[in-house]
């Protein structure tokens, strides 16, 4: 047993006055500066990465993928202002992004006005329109959180998505609204003809939006949003109106959702009903939850991973939505903290300098588990091929091997690999748990 209390990280039995570990007589400025640098480091690294990525991936399709990723990041962060920080579950948030995007498309089509502004400020207008709509809807929907809020968001979402086919003047009906981004006032001689120019525009907007949203979460209003999420009655007793706090979060979230819609408009130059229907709202919920709602950077991870999974998997298999759905359900059931939660789980072990202890057990359990899961996926793919392939088409290619899906052998092989992989993972799971407990306990290895 160690001398430290694992709950408080303090020496056991220490009285409160003994727990101060820093020397108050030393000047604290140095410490503050280092703290600031430490806080800024992720932002600087992220900016540098965004700046250098196009140098690494030069082909257009990758840049399009990265653009999509960044747009999703902004949207998911905006969504998490509601879900993670405010505790409000919205089933119709795509509406605000969509309306912001549609507004941007209409601005693009008003040639007089559009040719007098540079393209770079267009997302701001998208944000304003998203915010305006959020103010209207939020005026009645934020009265309560929980189920009522979720239902209103669903109703309003369906309503606007349905009217997008009826109100042709604004939503363009089935064909949507398209425009031309190059009509804008050239920005330092740049007309944004190339994908790479658009990439930098979106990158700058992503960094700015993310930074603003992070700073928002550090303002009193952002902090109160957390309080209202956890305990509205107590927040009201402190003198804050839970409803107004929710309203502010909702409006801010609507603004950034609108910004993401504007970025979408710039990148794709077309918006359709698909941008604001319930399916898009569901996807953003999926992205955010997958990434993890508990941490600010969770949605960023979610957006990157989901966009990659979507793009890569949908090229490989028709069943990608099935896998994504399974992954989502597994996340909700077993890792409610999402990917960010999984990462942050390892911080205590890392701080104790014991993360090395975990590597071998992880390899022992996760590698067989991954192989087993892949084999299960292979079985699923084979079943799908067996049932739905064209008649006479017995050949299928899976994991770089081509075989006949109507013979027994491949099924046996896949089933055997699945059983062995998952069996090993199951057998080694207790030792992983042991190693996990060991790595999270202070003191020398016993």
């Amino acid at each position: 047993m160690s001398n430290f209390d694992p709950n408080t990280d303090m020496p056991r039995g220490a009285r409160p006055e003994e727990q101060i570990t820093t020397d108050p007589s030393k000047p604290s400025e140095r410490m503050q500066f280092r703290l600031m640098l430490f806080n800024l480091a992720p932002w600087i690294i992220a900016s540098l990465v965004l700046l250098l990525l196009p140098a690494v991936f030069t082909n257009n399709s990758t840049i399009t993928l990265m653009n999509q990723m960044m747009i999703t990041i902004v949207f998911a962060l905006a969504y998490n202002m509601l879900l993670g920080q405010g505790g409000m579950l919205s089933f119709g948030h795509a509406v605000y992004a969509g309306v912001g995007g549609f507004a941007c498309m209409h601005i693009m089509n008003t040639s007089d006005f559009f040719s007098s502004i540079p393209l770079v400020i267009l997302p701001f207008f998208g944000g304003l329109f998203g915010m305006g709509l959020a103010m209207i809807v939020g005026s009645f929907s934020t009265r309560s959180a929980g189920t009522v809020f979720a239902m209103i968001s669903l109703g309003v979402g369906e309503l606007i998505a349905a009217s997008s086919v009826i109100i042709v003047a604004f939503f363009g009906g089935e064909g949507g609204v398209s425009g031309n981004r190059t009509d804008a006032l050239p920005f330092f001689g740049n007309e944004f003809l190339q994908q790479i120019n658009v990439y930098y525009l979106i990158a700058v907007w992503t960094i700015i939006s993310a930074a603003l949203m992070f700073l928002w979460s550090r303002t009193p209003v952002g902090r109160m949003a957390n309080a209202v999420r956890d305990n509205p009655e107590r927040a009201e007793f402190l003198g804050y109106s839970a409803r107004w706090v929710r309203f502010y979060s909702f409006v801010a979230s609507g603004f950034f959702a609108g910004v993401s819609g504007g970025l979408f408009a710039i990148n794709y130059e077309i918006l359709t009903e698909e941008n604001l229907n319930t399916a898009s709202s569901g996807v953003i919920l999926l992205v955010t939850f997958l990434g993890g709602v508990g941490f600010f950077f969770g949605p960023i991870i979610g957006a990157v991973v989901f966009t990659l999974v979507q793009t890569v998997l949908s090229l490989q298999t028709e069943l990608w939505a099935f896998y994504a759905g399974s992954l989502f359900l597994a996340t909700v059931m077993f890792f409610p903290g999402g990917l960010a939660g999984l990462i942050m789980m390892h911080v205590p072990a890392f701080k104790l300098g014991k993360s090395k202890l975990l590597i071998i057990p992880y390899l022992k359990t996760l590698v067989p588990a991954a192989i087993g899961i892949l084999a299960v996926c292979a079985l699923v793919e084979m079943t799908f091929h067996y049932r739905h392939a064209a008649t006479g088409d017995h050949e299928m290619t899976l994991f770089w091997t081509t075989f006949d899906s109507h013979t027994v052998l491949p099924w046996l092989v896949a089933a055997a690999i699945a059983a062995v992989g998952l069996g090993i993972a199951r057998a080694t799971a207790p030792s992983l748990k042991e190693a996990w407990n060991e790595a999270n306990t202070r003191g020398a290895a016993s």
Binding site: V148, V156, E158, I166, G325, M333, R387, H388
Partner: protein
């Protein structure tokens, strides 16, 4: 007048169908405090199971067996999925059922493919029951009405007159006390979830042949079912019945009578603008009631939530 009667019957069929879904959903809501997003997915599963069974054993076996399978699947979902997620709170539960709805839709596409199934009305019921001034009413619609009314009466009887129903009602309001009296409350919850999803399954079995059995059928009906129980008041069985019938008749009548917005506005004394094609409000002026029939429930729901958040029959929400 005759047309009104025909529409009344049509609306009744739609409303009762909605009610079979919303009854189970509202029971599940009062139990868990969470809306089951996947409820309509169980309705879809009912239709698909019944179709597969009817290929081998005929329609009537499908009607009997499919809801049972759906109910078992629902109970399994409650036991192994929701009960696990319950500890994390309400929002993850809601998200779980949402993910489940997505997954079931994918699963159905995986097993049965994307095309509509040839699930049709059995020959025994494929005749015209009677005609109202030239508008024939198929016997299957009458059959649907009888099935749903029968289920409603049965449900009401079980819930209010039997011992099991009493225990269920008590467990919904005071689970701790009922548990202290020696009843297995988790088992009751699992049972209620199973029965609720089985009801949705029945609805699927009898609606499949009329509304079509295709992967999008859960999505089409899903959100309307929420709207129904929100309008009726969450947790209220009578509210669910009232709202289902209201929505059924409202959409049927809006589709049957082509009321144009321009006529209404002209009737109110607002003149049609001179150059309508140029006007910003041209879409608003050319609105017709069949166009907006499907979004009327949503408008109603948003209005209800604004002015009476507890719903028409709901108790004051806590």
């Amino acid at each position: 007048m005759d047309l009104i009667l025909v529409n009344l019957i049509d609306g009744l069929v739609t409303g009762l169908l909605l009610f079979m879904l919303s009854a189970g959903l509202t029971l599940i809501f009062s139990m868990m405090g969470v809306l089951n997003f996947a409820h309509a997915s169980f309705y879809m599963l009912g239709a698909y199971f019944a179709y597969s069974i009817s290929l081998a054993l005929g329609f009537w076996m499908g009607l009997l067996v499919a809801p049972l399978i759906v109910g078992l699947a629902g109970a399994a979902v409650e036991r192994y999925g929701l009960r696990r997620v319950h500890q994390y709170g309400h929002v993850p539960e809601l998200i779980f059922t949402f993910g489940l709805a997505l997954l079931i839709e994918e699963l159905v596409q995986f097993v049965w493919g994307k095309n509509q199934m040839a699930y049709s009305v059995p020959d025994v019921l494929n005749f015209t029951a009677f005609a109202i001034s030239g508008n024939s009413i198929p016997a299957y619609k009458i059959f649907m009405i009888f099935i749903s009314v029968g289920i409603f009466i049965g449900l009401l009887y079980v819930l209010t007159k039997t011992r099991v129903g009493m225990i269920i009602q008590a467990a919904l309001s005071y689970p701790r006390t009922v548990e202290a009296l020696g009843h297995n409350v988790p088992l009751i919850f699992m049972g209620v979830f199973g029965v609720g999803t089985a009801l949705a399954g029945v609805a699927g079995v009898i609606a499949g042949p009329v509304l079509g059995t295709f992967p999008g059928m859960a999505f089409v009906l899903g959100s309307i079912v929420f709207v129904t129980i929100v309008i009726g008041g969450l947790g209220s069985l009578w509210g669910a019945l009232f709202a289902s019938l209201l929505i059924g008749w409202m959409t049927t009548f809006a589709k049957a009578y082509n009321i144009e917005m321009s006529n209404i506005l002209n009737g109110l004394g607002i003149a049609t603008p001179e150059n309508l094609d140029e006007s910003l409000f041209r879409d608003f002026w050319s609105l017709t009631s069949p166009q907006i029939a499907d979004i009327l429930p949503y408008i109603l729901m948003v209005l209800i939530l604004i002015f009476r958040p507890a719903g028409l029959f709901g108790k004051r929400s806590s």
